[in-house]
């Protein structure tokens, strides 16, 4: 019975997810097409700046035109859906002939590692320091951590990134921007891996430093709230060890953060525009910005679709995993 209820719930959730993806997909398809600006005109002007004559520039932009979708808007939408069903995201307009899936794949491979490291680091940092801030809230340490969390939470990502870039790559060049030292032979070898990691430190740190404040404050608030619950008082009265009580507190206090974390992992496919821009990191954020600037419609559609699917899947996972983590949550009418 419970299994049937769970299956029914899963099926409903999946259907809802597909519907949401389709709606967002459709909405972004038409919204992108409504954007003012023309990739041909932008490319034409750029070619004139490079010294081409008007005729040469027109001829070269004609090659881009060959990759522009044609037909009425509805026809284009129909073609787009048919291609999607076959797993085809189309080809880029500005990077002529290159499949969108390849462009997205390259960008995602850089984004996932970076943002995942940033998200997990900020979550871990936020949780640990949030707990300390809650438990020591009446001390200078607790107050200090709260202020630190508030201040860092208020610093925008791009400011944090620029601070790190200015200090650690320019003033004191301990690090380099970019994803890796290109002179090294790519592959699973020590120098290349070390270079990858060292180049990821600053952007991941920027991400972590600008977002762990939110986790810290949320965790602190959650811990303080749980600490005031009756069952904690009961545990203390029963004489349970501090360690055991702390486990109860942590288990319950971390629940709100779990949803936030799961959704963050979904959003990570969107990359971080500011951080990638500051560190010249070739992730989804950069790809999205450049495709918007050049009106590369297929790449934009592909990127938005990927982000949508990631967030929806993350949301679904959060819902499903929450039932496993929190025994108080039941489906099918059961109650504790």
């Amino acid at each position: 019975m419970r299994m049937m209820a769970n299956l029914r719930y899963l099926a409903t959730s999946l259907l809802r997810a597909f519907l949401t993806i389709w709606v967002v997909c459709t909405f972004t398809f038409f919204l992108i097409k409504l954007m003012p600006g023309d990739p041909l005109e932008t490319a034409y002007e750029n070619l004139l700046m490079q010294g081409k004559t008007p005729q040469q520039a027109r001829a070269l932009t004609a090659s881009i035109y060959g990759f522009m979708p044609n037909g009425s808007l509805l026809q284009q939408y129909g073609d787009y859906l048919i291609q999607l069903v076959h797993g085809n995201f189309g080809t880029s307009i500005t990077a002529e002939g290159i499949p969108v899936s390849r462009e997205l794949g390259s960008a995602v491979s850089w984004t996932v590692g970076l943002v995942l490291a940033g998200v997990l680091t900020s979550a871990a940092l936020g949780v640990v320091l949030g707990v300390i801030a809650a438990i020591r809230r009446d001390t200078r340490l607790g107050s200090g951590l709260t202020i630190l969390g508030s201040v860092l939470h208020g610093i925008p990502q791009y400011v944090m990134a620029l601070i790190l870039v200015t200090f650690l790559t320019v003033k004191f060049p301990l690090f380099s921007t970019g994803p890796v030292d290109g002179t090294l032979e790519p592959g699973f070898n020590a120098p290349y891996v070390a270079s990858l990691l060292s180049h990821a430190v600053l952007p991941a740190s920027a991400f972590a430093l600008s977002s762990f404040g939110g986790y810290l404050l949320t965790m602190k608030s959650s811990v303080v709230s749980v600490m005031g619950d009756d069952f904690i008082l009961a545990a203390e009265v029963r004489g349970l060890s501090r360690r055991r009580i702390f486990t109860y507190i942590a288990h319950n206090a971390v629940l709100p953060l779990f949803t936030v974390l799961t959704l963050s992992l979904g959003f990570m496919f969107g990359g971080s525009v500011f951080i990638e821009n500051a560190f010249n990191y070739p992730g989804m954020g950069q790809l999205l910005i450049s495709s918007v600037g050049q009106r590369d419609y297929p790449v934009m559609n592909g990127a938005f679709l990927l982000i949508t699917v990631a967030v929806i899947v993350a949301n679904l996972l959060a819902d499903l995993l929450y039932t496993a983590i929190d025994p108080r949550v039941r489906r099918g009418g059961e109650r504790i």
Binding site: N46, G51, P54, I64, G66, A95, A194, L202, N280, I289
Partner: protein, 617 residues
């Protein structure tokens, strides 16, 4: 290479984000987190292992950026793909390099082509290939390679030609159309040379027949249309093709690409490899001016192209050991363009009044103090080109004069009421100026200009479009009464006047003349009248500008003088400043860079190397 690609591209496929704000260091303490500290400590150790392209690489590694070509790991090695991993002057070679001469558009420096002869009628050019030119795989560059190269060029829109090889190192090219000699010569000599060993297998067997058919006098319209479609289809198909490994006839060949860098190694088979000092070139990717400034301030770049830079940022960059600048002529001017379809900008006295009210020197100082010079006057061309054509011409310099501005507004029938100029229907004269987001020099200068206008009693504000693509789209739809416009794109006067009397002003090239479209149609947003009175006669400026494509000598000079005089008199545009081609060089690792005003500055540093510059210190 014009100086403004870094200003505007996105090119690189990439949009430059301009910022005059110098984000200087803010003294803050980083969070004392043990995790972050551990990460930093580990990273410091690791960075010692990893190294960076500039710090750890050979001392004969030349590091720069290519503002015309973005770096894309998925891109093919194909010169006709917008994001191709081919870089002009390094692994992308032309038959010859343009000298960007103002007086002689046919001035080219030999490269893969050692010499060429243009027939008297300008229809045939015989090209002699350097017998020492070779590919990176050791094979010689032959006339077959040039023929394949011409095929790709035609497939990508170049006017139809017929190519006949005459031996291994000679090829004769005849144009199938009736283009002007200099245009035809340019089309041939700027052909990018590609290896026939790869491309011949991709070019359709009947390609050259189709090219002939397309312009044949005896073919039917249906046949011509089919031939054009087939050529276009091949052009589309081939842009995604390319050899797996780079086969280069340039001084370098591509060895590796990652998202941040393209690495090229010296090609020992290059015909003049003894002149090439660097053993490796690293082309770094960038996404904004900020990124380039970061590279410059950390001393990573040996050469950087023109980059819009504020005075304070320039100072910071030049404070770095080894950094200095070289300056060349730029054939780009920043101007205001009027939409004469919007009243009262159809009245020349209003346009003249606006011109007199603007202090160009101040606007230039505020907007482009490091790489701009206030325009002497408005002619549609930069000052250097004016010097060639307009000696002795009597032109109005529109020097800043609020009193003359007032005179002009009065002549336009405007009345000043309570300090505000009002049109005949009583509304305040409003001059709102449009700029594109990201163009920080336009934004800054625009603010200065609106202040000047407000000071003389004209209502004025600066409006910003979300991005350049939106700006161009709205501009073409005639949405802005006054907007910033890049003008004077030379060096040839024909190109310059296409910016004033071309598509944007209603004239579309047709044969050797031009066809005019009404205001608002076919991209006509400037909406100048089709005929203007000048010097006692009625002229069609678009037709006249189109003739510059075919005329030479005294006829050309005479036409240029007329167009310059008309532009100066009628002010369809008003030039604010001429850009300077300001580039950065670093003399820590290499020396012997081209001097100021050298023609080489219009080309990439790879070309400089081929002419003996950039030597090991």
């Amino acid at each position: 290479m014009l100086s403004n690609t870094a200003h505007h591209t996105s090119g690189e496929g990439i949009m430059h984000l301009h910022s005059l704000k110098h984000c200087g260091p803010h003294p803050r303490n980083l969070a004392k987190s043990p995790v972050v500290a551990a990460m930093v400590g580990a990273a410091m150790l690791l960075s010692g292992c990893g190294g960076s392209a500039s710090a750890g690489a050979s001392s004969r590694t030349f590091t720069t950026i290519d503002e015309n070509q973005s770096i894309n790991v998925n891109a093919p090695i194909n010169p006709y793909n917008q994001v191709a991993n081919m870089f002009t002057g390094y692994n992308k070679e032309q038959l010859a390099w343009s000298k960007y001469s103002i007086s002689d558009p046919t001035a080219y420096a030999p490269n893969i082509a050692t010499s060429w002869n243009l027939s008297a009628d300008g229809h045939t050019v015989t090209v002699h290939i350097n017998p020492k030119a070779a590919w990176s795989n050791g094979a010689a560059v032959t006339s077959d390679d040039v023929k394949a190269s011409l095929a790709l060029s035609i497939a990508n829109g170049t006017s139809a030609m017929t190519a006949k090889t005459a031996g291994a190192t000679t090829i004769s090219v005849t144009q199938n159309t009736d283009a002007q000699a200099s245009t035809f010569l340019s089309n041939v000599l700027t052909t990018i040379v590609v290896p026939s060993s790869f491309w011949n297998a991709k070019i359709p067997k009947n390609f050259w027949n189709e090219v002939s058919l397309e312009t044949s006098a005896t073919a039917t319209e249906a046949q011509k249309k089919q031939a054009s479609a087939d050529i276009a289809a091949f052009g589309k198909k081939m842009t995604s093709l390319g050899p797996k490994k780079d086969i280069s006839c340039g001084p370098f060949s591509l060895t590796r690409v990652n998202p941040s860098e393209a690495i090229l190694a010296k090609n020992p088979n290059f015909f003049d490899s003894s002149r090439i000092a660097p053993t490796q070139v690293v082309l770094k990717s960038y996404n904004s001016n900020q990124q380039i400034w970061t590279y410059l301030k950390s001393g990573q770049l040996d050469v950087a192209p023109y980059t819009a830079t504020s005075a304070s940022m320039l100072k910071s960059i030049l404070a770095v050991h080894g950094n200095s600048t070289v300056e060349g002529v730029s054939f780009v001017s920043a101007a205001l363009a009027f939409n004469q379809n919007v009243k009262p900008f159809d009245n020349v006295w209003v346009r003249r009044g606006v011109a007199y009210a603007i202090n160009r020197a101040t606007a230039t100082k505020i907007g482009e103090s490091t790489s701009g010079t206030a325009s002497d006057t408005t002619t549609g061309m930069v000052s250097k080109v004016n010097d060639l054509y307009l000696k002795g011409a009597h032109l109005n310099d529109y020097a800043y004069s609020p009193s003359k501005a007032a005179e002009c507004f009065s002549k336009a029938g405007l009345k000043k009421v309570d300090g505000i100029w009002r049109t005949t229907d009583g509304k305040p004269l409003t001059v709102n100026i449009q700029v594109a987001n990201g163009f920080s020099d336009w934004v800054a200068a625009g603010k200065s200009i609106t202040s000047d206008l407000t000071a003389v009693g004209v209502s004025s504000q600066l409006n910003t479009s979300a991005d350049y693509a939106t700006y161009l789209s709205d501009l073409a739809q005639g949405k802005f009464p006054v907007a910033f416009w890049l003008a004077a794109l030379g060096p040839d006067a024909y190109n310059a006047y296409q910016r004033v009397y071309g598509t944007s002003n209603g004239w579309t090239a047709s044969g050797s003349g031009a066809v005019h479209s009404a205001a608002g149609k076919n991209g006509n947003w400037m909406a100048s009248p089709e005929h203007e009175q000048y010097d006692g006669s009625s002229i069609d400026p678009g037709e006249l500008a189109a003739t510059l494509q075919t005329t030479t000598g005294a006829t050309k000079s005479d036409t240029v003088r007329k167009l310059a005089g008309l532009t100066n008199d009628q002010l369809p545009i008003f030039q604010i400043w001429d850009y300077k081609n300001l580039q950065f060089v670093n003399t820590s690792r290499f020396s012997n860079f081209p001097k100021n005003d050298s023609w080489l500055l219009h080309n990439q540093p790879g070309v400089w190397m081929q002419y003996g510059y950039i030597t090991k210190k």
